[in-house]
Each structure stands twice: as C-alpha cells, then as structure tokens.
Symmetry: C2
Subunit: 151 residues, 2 copies
DNA sequence: TTTGTTTAAGTGTTAAAACATTTAAGTTTG
DNA sequence: CAAACTTAAATGTTTTAACACTTAAACAAA
C-alpha cells in the first residue's frame, strides 16, 4: 500500500519528506516483521544481528567494540546482549591474550545451528516475505538510493 | 558511505538482503539524526510525529486511535505520549460529545508555535540535512521502491 | 431489559534502549 | 618510573517500548 494511504494523509507530501517518512515507516514495518519471525527462536532483532555478525567472522571471534561497530543499531549495549546470548549458549567469551581489557566473542556450534534453522525456515517462505515483490535490479537500486540518502 | 563499508562486511551481500539491511541501517541512522534535531525542543520522535499529525488535521482534533493509525510506529502507546504532550501544553484533550469512550486531542497554539520553530530551524540547514544529496526524482523513486518493498 | 460482544482508552509490568558513569588495563609523556 | 591520558568493557539509572490486561462505554441480540 502506498505511504499516503498507510498514513491516511490528506494533503500531498513533498518528495524528500515522503522519502524520510517512508524510510521510517518501512523500517518500523520491517522490524515488526523480523520480530515476529524471530519470536519462536527466543531471539530479539539485535541478538540475531550479533549472531550473524559472529557467524560471518567465524572461526575468528570479535571484540565487543568490533561487534558494535558492525551492528545495524550502533546504540546497542553489546556487553549485555552478549551476556544474554552466552547464557543461552549461543556464543562463547574468552579473554584476549595480549590485551586483557578485551574479550573475544565467538559463535558456538549451538549458535550456528540456530542460525541455520532460522535461515531454512525463512527460505521456505522467502517468496512471500519482506521485499519479495522487488526484482534484483530494484533491490540494488533501493540500496543504492539509501546509500545516497545518508551522504 | 556504502553499506558494506559501514558494516565492515567482508563478503558480498545478496541484493535483497542488502536492501533489508540498508533499510534498517538507514532508519537507525535517520532516527539518531532526528533525535539530535529534536533534543533542543524537548521532544522525542514519536511525540513530534503526533504533533505533526494533529497539525495536519487542525482545526479538527483526532481520537487516540485515529492518531495511532496515522503514526509511523504503530506500536506506540498514544495515551501516554499524549498525556506528556498535554503536560507540556502542546495539545489539549476534550471528551467526545456523543461517544463518551472517546477523547479528542487537538494541537494547541503553543504546540503550533513549537512546530513552526522547528520547521524554521530545519529549513535553514535543509541543504545539508538528511536526504539532501538526493534529487527530487530520486526521492520519489526511493519512496516508490519502499512502497513496493512492503507489498 | 439483560446478557454478551465489541470498541476506546488507560494502566501495569517486564524488558530493552539511551545515556552517563565506573573500573581496569593499556599508552603516552614529563 | 609515575602521573595523566586513552581505550575496552561493564554497570547504573532513567526513560521508553512492548505486550497483556483492565475499565468503561457503546452496541447487538435474545
């Protein structure tokens, strides 16, 4: 549905403002979608984000700050999120050898198993999920315009 | 900066996933930007959203549910947000005549003054703000692709 | 009417975000 | 070396989000 319809806007919205509102609205919509997808697995969005970051760097681990710098939401409190993931058994924490201030976080086998379960479930419904109506070219164009938006 | 750089991604990201990540990342970036803009005025993003909705419907007011259905973030607790705005003097609440379950919320003169102050300040720096690098046509295209993304 | 259902708004509670502050280890410089 | 500074992680606190639940009014049907 078009943004104006979603927001029940009466008067026309200027182009740039429409872009701003649409980014915020779509992100909220997407966030809600992702939260629903993750609920059965007992993960929140930021926790899932961390697991995927660690999976991408596996078998190497990352420090807390390294994780934070790669997150979608940079205001996340990574220490606490990692601690929750550790309690659930999805990551492991080992102190850094040289620099004893640092802690290196690594995804566990359980964590990797969880990610692959989630991925499988999403692949099954990937043709009906978020962004499924976009062609590859449109998806690329969208990402490019968003990059330009932040300049 | 391109998303891959922002997220320090090593391997290439598939197009649709890039779109998803970029929407979430850009929204978080934008949210941070807006929060900073609004801070001097003592408003949060959702509060500002409500004020603008009420300004758009002025002089008519809206019920709590009407406001909610027009908000960017539909999970907002409008009752509490409206109460805060009322305590700050930016909105007024009057019980609905016929249906005594409803409350009609209207923006006050103080609230309208606040909005115009904020707008003026943003116009001044509108050439350096969010989305300023996009042309009108690109902004429209971006909004259109986001509409399609949610289908 | 009275019973049940739906709708609007508000409230209670838990968890998370936001932001500042603290602790401890490492670095730099006089 | 010692003091000052910087950096990494954790913690404290306040606010807000998220979600369920309550209350009260309107509506619908027996």
């Amino acid at each position: 549905m078009k943004l104006e319809m979603e927001l029940k806007s009466t008067r026309p919205i200027p182009a740039k403002q429409r872009a701003v509102l649409n980014i915020l609205f779509t992100a909220s919509w997407l966030d809600c979608y992702i939260t629903r997808q993750l609920r059965p697995y007992g993960l929140t969005g930021p926790q899932y984000n961390i697991l995927r970051i660690l999976n991408g760097s596996f078998p190497k681990g990352l420090s807390v700050l390294d994780i934070k710098s790669r997150m979608l939401d940079r205001s996340s409190n990574v220490s606490r999120l990692v601690e929750k993931l550790r309690l659930s058994g999805f990551v492991e924490r080992v102190p850094h050898g040289r620099d004893r201030r640092m802690v290196i976080v690594t995804i566990s086998e359980t964590g990797k198993k969880l990610l692959s379960d989630i991925e499988k479930a999403q692949v099954i419904e990937s043709n009906s999920g978020a962004g499924s109506k976009l062609t590859e070219a449109e998806a690329l164009e969208l990402a490019h315009l968003l990059d330009k938006f932040r300049e």
